[in-house]
Symmetry: C2
Subunit: 325 residues, 2 copies
């Protein structure tokens, strides 16, 4: 009897993420499709000069969070923030409205749900996002919370994952590696004053919408992504999308002191968290060297960490020893 | 110690569904919000003369389906169909694109996922819906599948839940009660030739998009909803939205022969399934009597089942004995 292939054997959902771009797109809608699956958000032409941008993200109990160390308010805030980060990763997108889906077991305390919505609302208020609707359904055991976020943009102010040129600088804005360390802190129940910034980075990622807007409006980035799956994954996606290679100046990657202390205490290199940790929601982007001074002026927190080079010419990340610790 | 109130004690998610309409809508977006939470779909003004319509529906293993009697292809087809039914319930809406979210345990067979997408695609092909993106995440045990559907409309061709006038006819188009019986058949594993139409009604609900489009384009319906939670719930929502009451001509409600046979075999009145069963996705709408001949001509399958009356004047559904069998 043939063995049944299971999802866990085909690269932890990598295969599935590849499947979606192959999905159906009817020819009658071709004039309206600007960007389909496979970027940070989908883009649809709705009126002349403006496009609709849509993205969706889901957090699952037991996978992304555990109830015992989760405040429902934090969960609501984070769920909307990670969707907003997808918009930041598309350039200049104005968020409009969210649809919220909750799957909850019947024994969920009512207060838990109230607090979840308080968290959502507080993030929505900050970024002027409205609620357009949603669905609320039962579940047997786990919380599953999901947001679909809609926004609008001028298509010329969007920045794709592809578009980098050989010689472009690689830059980042936002913290790296801290959220992954924060998740470890939460799992170990090790809350102390010095670990607070790590927990904060995990629960309150700051969507880099203003940075994305500047990069898109001024056309300063040639390609752009967020670092939701760790820096290594983001660099690989950017490099593959533009069929280029990457060289890095490791010394230029700044490591937060709490992250350094946490990594040292666990006998790990802090760059392990930077490259392989996830859920940071920093922006990773490429810049033509002639635009770098403008980036530095407008986004003083942006850090240059490397360069795009010919494919195969760069030193691969693997040879740095960060692919398989 | 105060007792913790849990969701299961506050009316099976009814409370939650009421919570969502109270959510935040920023004043900066007021000019763009046409219809917020609380109707069959949300509506956002994107360009002059056209609006964006959005809806989302989720199916959860153990709640909406059991893996042992579910073909993943049926599941994919149904998930998109129930979202399309929300559009039908808004009048004339052109579906554009879907975002698909899957939460799946790692031991899910790869073929299961392939077949799920085949089902989605087959429904998408029929209704010319494109895929704009989505998210794929892990789960500990249960499948959770979710679609957010986007479409566009002329705002004058939308029909709300509210808008019925006293004296309007109440009409339905589409099967009633069959899906709820089909679910019982599936749970009991009682597949026979005569129960096949019931199973078909459960797994392959036909979104009444063409009927909705006619009702919206010709402005023939004064209010409109789908019957996803059973006829009683739909009538109650329509009556409450227009602050009216309802009288019904029970004899005019046609009962499918397979439904009658299934109900008889279980010692139940078939109207039990019609009023309290769910997942039918028929349309329930109100019509000014002067427009009824046009409805009959354009939608020959529409059946008149009652009338909107002054609030408190109609015989309540409860007094028919169908609220609590």
């Amino acid at each position: 009897m043939a063995r049944v292939r299971r999802l866990s054997q085909v690269g932890e959902f990598g295969w599935l993420k590849k499947l979606i771009p192959r999905l159906y797109w009817p020819s009658s809608l071709h004039p309206q499709l600007c960007i389909g699956p496979g970027d940070d958000a989908g883009v649809l032409r709705i009126s002349s000069g403006r496009v609709l941008v849509a993205t969706t993200d889901t957090l699952v109990e037991g996978i992304h969070f555990e109830r015992k160390w989760t405040s429902p308010q934090d969960l609501g805030e984070k769920l909307l923030a990670v969707n907003l980060s997808d918009f930041a990763a598309m350039g200049h997108v104005k968020p409009l409205a969210a649809l919220v889906t909750l799957a909850l077991p019947g024994d969920t305390p009512v207060n838990f749900v109230n607090n979840f919505y308080q968290g959502l609302k507080s993030c929505a208020h900050r970024w002027k996002v409205g609620f357009l609707g949603g669905d609320t359904v039962g579940s047997r055991r786990d919380w599953v919370v999901s947001v679909t976020l809609l926004g609008e943009a001028n298509p010329h102010e969007l920045v794709r994952r592809k578009g980098a040129q050989r010689g472009d600088f690689i830059a980042v804005i936002g913290p790296l590696g801290m959220a992954a360390a924060g998740l470890e802190v939460l799992k170990k129940g090790n809350k102390q004053a010095w670990t607070a910034p790590l927990i904060e980075a995990f629960w309150r990622p700051q969507p880099q919408l203003r940075a994305g807007a500047i990069l898109g409006q001024r056309r300063l980035a040639s390609s752009l992504i967020d670092s939701s799956d760790g820096l290594e994954a983001s660099l690989k996606l950017l490099a593959d999308a533009s069929r280029l290679g990457v060289t890095l100046e490791l010394a230029s990657i700044s490591v937060n002191p709490s992250l350094k202390r946490w990594a040292n205490g666990r006998g790990k290199n802090p760059l392990h968290y930077v490259f392989l940790g996830g859920e940071d929601y920093a922006l990773v982007f490429t810049v033509n060297p002639r635009d770098w001074s403008a980036v530095q002026r407008l986004l003083p927190k942006a850090r240059k960490i490397g360069r795009m080079v010919a494919p195969g010419k760069g030193i691969s990340l693997k040879s740095y020893g960060f692919a398989h610790f």
